[in-house]
């Protein structure tokens, strides 16, 4: 499966996670909806939609958790007729990320959760902790520029231009 990451240290842990958990799609994003890495998508418009919806679902579940349980819910699982999704936050030294995982009956929620914990450990180990943390892009004035830059990095063609399909 094709795996692409805005920052190279994310790529190997995400590739291993997708392989081990037998995920169909995995997207690592900033809680604001900005994509950091993806596996399984072939079109940037799909990634944009998935990130926007995942960020919204994560924010909604988080707020529901805070109201019902006093703190944000850790994960969200939805089982469809064929596909299932698992959405959960990842706390790593570089900040908080959200991971959207889509899987089918070749995997299971138990396996995805199991390897999700390994993804967290792998990302913590791979994270360049010495690097200065990036400024939070949420609601930043240059959000769109950042978004386009990240999408171009994920879907760039041979000359570096974004592939729009």
């Amino acid at each position: 499966m094709n795996v692409a990451a805005v920052e190279s240290w994310i790529e190997a842990p995400l590739r291993r996670y997708v392989d081990d958990a037998r995920a169909r799609i995995a997207v690592l994003l900033h809680p604001s909806g900005q994509v950091m890495a993806q596996a399984g998508f072939t079109r940037d418009v799909d990634v944009m939609a998935a990130c926007a919806l995942a960020a919204a679902a994560h924010a909604t579940a988080g707020e529901l958790g805070r109201r019902l349980d006093g703190r944000a819910f850790r994960g969200l699982h939805y089982a469809g007729a064929v596909h299932q999704l698992f959405l959960s936050a990842l706390e790593i030294p570089r900040g908080t990320f959200v991971c959207l995982t889509v899987f089918d009956d070749t995997s299971s929620l138990g396996l995805v959760r199991l390897y999700f914990d390994e993804l967290r450990r792998d990302l913590i180990a791979a994270s360049p902790a010495a690097a200065a943390p990036r400024p939070a892009p949420a609601l930043a004035a240059d959000f769109e520029t950042e978004l386009n830059r990240n999408l171009a990095a994920l879907f760039s063609g041979p000359r570096g231009e974004a592939v729009i399909s």
Partner: protein, 117 residues
């Protein structure tokens, strides 16, 4: 139902050489109930997810090969063995020492399976 499940895993765990017994959802790979002699909850979640995956693969493989339903699954490894039986979406899993009496475990697993019917 819950007490029946609890009774089943506790009876299995009382067998000599049994380190853990679990009831696992085959489709989700999640623990329904467990009785452990090792580790904590995280270990049971790991065993449940992997055991359910193995059992499911065995069931699908047997089906694809026209061998019929899987009645008993046994995995022998250097430091232990895993035995599993299933019914509907539930899989009964036992993790045992290499020296454990598999015949006895098998009998107890089938007895436990009857209680889940």
């Amino acid at each position: 139902m819950r007490s029946r499940l609890r009774g089943a895993v506790e009876r299995l765990s009382r067998q000599r050489g049994v380190r853990a017994s679990l009831i696992v959802s085959e489709n989700d790979g999640l623990v329904v109930d467990s009785s452990l002699r090792f580790g904590e909850g995280e270990d049971s979640e790991r065993v449940a997810a992997l055991a359910a995956s193995i059992y499911r693969k065995a069931r699908l493989s047997a089906d694809a090969a026209h061998l019929g339903a899987v009645s008993f699954l046994q995995l022998d490894a250097d430091r232990g063995r895993l035995c599993a039986v299933g019914r509907d979406d539930l899989v009964l899993v036992v993790v045992a020492e290499p020296s454990a009496n598999v015949g006895l475990i098998r009998v107890e697993l089938f007895k436990a399976l009857e209680t889940l019917a």
